[in-house]
């Protein structure tokens, strides 16, 4: 009864018919409708990182036995807002001797794919902006564009540390992209589709009456796939323990050394939005999306989805404040000699399982 999907679509149709009734040409109405959809999405994706930044600081505080931000608002909940305002009004510095165009474009290239990536994510019943047939592939493809932005940032700063950071970052992103994609392949094989929505739908139901039919509960392959996906996602978002590209103590913050003000804010936003995206993908792929097993009828699916997503976001935050940073060669070896072989083994095992079940 609290499902947002039908509600929203009804409101949306009413709005559309009202607009057409008042003599707006259909093309314009269509564009308007899409604009509203996009606007909602952009708003969501821009707001979530603010919550995440706050959460991160709180989690960090609790883990280090302190309180975290407390002064701005009750329990410091407006801290991020204040930080944002500060960043907006900060001076926008473009270093002398940098490639100005690249420097300006880099944050945009990094941040804009994130918004596009959220388009096929099923937030709940009827809450999917665009139901693409190839949404998993689409998300991987689009999020790959951000890597170009990292390289542009490294090049455009005209600074050798930034350049090294950009190179390292790109190498890391490209490398971890491979096990990340391969770790999802078992899911695709089991459900026989590339659509996140269909995958999430396929996980509704119970095994033996108590175990949800989520992919994570497939013996061995589910857990292995999820662990690889999680590790690779952490690396993809450049977070500790894989934050080589922006290691403060080694590279003076890597590719975003020279960025300040709003551009820095954009880079930051991209990072947290990617954390959220990865978690949302993990939920849709491994945790049944909006499926609420026995309690499904009482609590709306979008709530389930967001709840699970934030639980996984918490894993990301937990990692950051628990593990030390890896060395750059360890990082690469871990990817190519551990994650990649195991993800391939996982694909093989899944094939075997499908064959045996036939």
């Amino acid at each position: 009864m609290l499902e947002l999907g039908p509600l929203l679509s009804r409101a949306f149709q009413a709005l559309q018919s009202w607009v057409i009734l008042h003599g707006v040409p259909p093309l314009a109405a269509w564009i308007l409708a899409k604009a509203i959809q996009v606007g909602v999405l952009v708003l969501l994706v821009s707001l979530v990182p603010m919550v995440l930044v706050y959460a991160e600081r709180k989690v960090a505080g609790f883990m280090q036995a302190r309180l975290g931000p407390m002064n701005v608002g009750p329990y410091g909940i407006f801290q991020t807002l204040a930080d944002g305002v500060k960043l907006i009004f900060k001076e926008d510095i473009i270093p002398v001797g940098s490639d100005r165009l690249m420097h300006i474009m880099a944050p945009m290239v990094v941040v804009s794919p994130v918004f596009v990536c959220f388009a096929p994510v099923p937030f709940g019943k009827g809450l999917i902006p665009i139901d693409l047939d190839i949404s998993v592939l689409f998300i991987f493809a689009i999020s790959g564009i951000s890597t170009i932005g990292v390289l542009m940032a490294g090049w455009g700063s005209g600074n050798k540390f930034s350049m090294l950071g950009g190179l390292r970052g790109a190498a890391q992103l490209v490398s971890y992209e491979i096990p990340r994609v391969l770790s999802v392949v078992p899911v695709l094989m089991v459900y026989g589709t590339l659509s996140l929505k269909s995958i999430a739908m396929g996980q509704v139901g119970l095994w033996h009456g108590f175990l949800p039919k989520w992919f994570i509960f497939y013996p061995f392959i589910g857990q292995l796939a999820f662990v690889i996906f999680l590790i690779a996602s952490v690396a993809e978002t450049n977070r500790t323990p894989f934050d080589i590209p922006e290691a403060e103590s080694e590279l003076v913050a890597g590719f975003h050394t020279e960025f300040s003000g709003l551009k820095f804010a954009l880079l930051f936003l991209a990072e947290y939005a990617y954390v959220f995206l990865s978690s949302a993908m993990a939920v849709a792929l491994f945790f049944g999306g909006g499926d609420g097993f026995t309690l499904g009828g009482w609590i709306p699916s979008w709530f389930w989805f967001l709840g699970k997503t934030f639980a996984i976001v918490f894993l990301f935050l937990w990692f950051r404040w628990t593990f030390p940073r890896l060395r750059v060669d360890q990082l690469m070896q871990f990817c190519w000699k551990f994650l990649l072989p195991w993800s391939i083994v996982n694909v093989g095992l899944t094939g075997l399982m499908i064959l045996l079940r036939k």
Partner: protein, 169 residues
Amino acid sequence: MERTLPTLIFACMAILLIGLSLIVVTARSVFRGAVALTAALGVVAALFALLGADFVAASQLLIYVGGIMIIMLFVIMLSQRPLDHLDRQTNEQWVWGAFFALAISCALIMQFRAVYRGVFVTTVATPTTASIGRLLLGDMVVPFEAVSLVLLAALVGAVYFGLDGKDRT
């Protein structure tokens, strides 16, 4: 609406693609050229999507933008020197090159206009992933395997050339 919108999108993308391609071949800074090429490849992916080839479009993004262009940018970053973008980037034969490139374009355009004018299609595009998968592992399995061998060979070759002289044994 259904008929004009694709045309509109196509016109925008065509202009964008041509502009970006021109930047690719004329930019003084190779890095900027490569970034323009990346964008151009993205536009090509969009064209594929417009043509109903959704899987190919996504692959185009994944392979070109997520793979090839990143390596390309990598190499550019490793091999460019600070003031390289002040150098002249075209050689002396650019007039002739431009002339013949134009000639090729014109010849092709004339031919295409003459032969393929007014070929329309009315069918609605359907998802292609499954049929491509069946094609690649069915009728095209031999070329598929051959290509994977080629890739392996390229990989080995790249590693070999990438090694320093002293590491090659």
